[in-house]
């Protein structure tokens, strides 16, 4: 999946549930931060903050294939994997070596409806803070 082409069609994303810790923010803009579509800003439209950095997992974790439960799929109206865009929240450290992504709780976006949610996966082996540049 080419994240850049998909997300260019998604100016505004609506969270069906707010991100844990940010109950007041439901509408976000997904904006490209580079030419290639490898890194995005995820910016609240309800308030001036928060903004996040998110990345499609493919370039960093080629084997990452989160299993989304039937209930999440139903809630987002997903009919198949082709509708789903997975994005990882990045915690930018003081250096790249100190930068991590959250593999346990990715954002899942329905690219057709622009509805999204942060999914907390059942797989306890997935870290909340995986080094990005290993």
């Amino acid at each position: 999946m080419n994240g850049m082409q998909v997300t260019e069609e998604i100016p505004v994303i609506e969270l069906v549930h707010p991100l844990p810790g940010f109950p007041e923010d439901r509408r976000f803009a997904l904006v490209r931060l580079d030419e290639d579509g490898a890194i995005f800003g995820f910016q609240s439209l309800d308030h001036a903050a928060p903004q996040f950095v998110v990345v499609p997992p493919h370039a960093f974790f080629p084997d990452y294939a989160p299993e989304v439960s039937d209930s999440v799929a139903a809630e987002l109206g997903l009919t198949g994997a082709a509708d789903a865009l997975v994005l990882l929240l990045v915690r930018a450290g003081s250096s790249l070596a100190d930068t991590t992504v959250n593999l346990r709780a990715p954002l899942v976006v329905n690219t057709a409806t622009r509805r999204a949610t942060q999914v907390i996966l059942d797989d306890t082996d997935l870290p909340l803070a995986a080094p990005l540049g290993d």
Partner: protein, 85 residues
């Protein structure tokens, strides 16, 4: 906080459509079953807190950090593109 005593096999009904049942008590571990509509998300409290903490850590990085990440991402992407051809 409402406090109720329940025996194994007994339940509590929350609202119209959430039922919590005590399934087993062994030492200091209590197994509970939760029957709820799928629109009701059920998570362990400490895991939800960990995700909230991780989100707070990730929120609003500095412009410098974002710029560094952008260059890394481009380098990684270049590597992936050549590998997949």
């Amino acid at each position: 906080m409402l406090v109720l005593s329940r025996r194994v096999g007994e339940s509590v009904v929350i609202g119209d459509d959430v039922t919590v049942t005590v399934l087993e008590v062994r030492g200091d571990v209590v197994r509970i079953g939760i029957d709820a509509p799928r629109s009701v998300r059920v998570n362990r409290a400490e895991l939800l807190q960990q995700v909230a903490d991780a989100n707070a850590d990730a929120a609003s990085p500095s412009a410098d950090a974002v710029a560094s990440l952008s260059s890394l991402a481009q380098a990684m992407r270049g590597r992936t593109d050549s590998a997949s051809e």
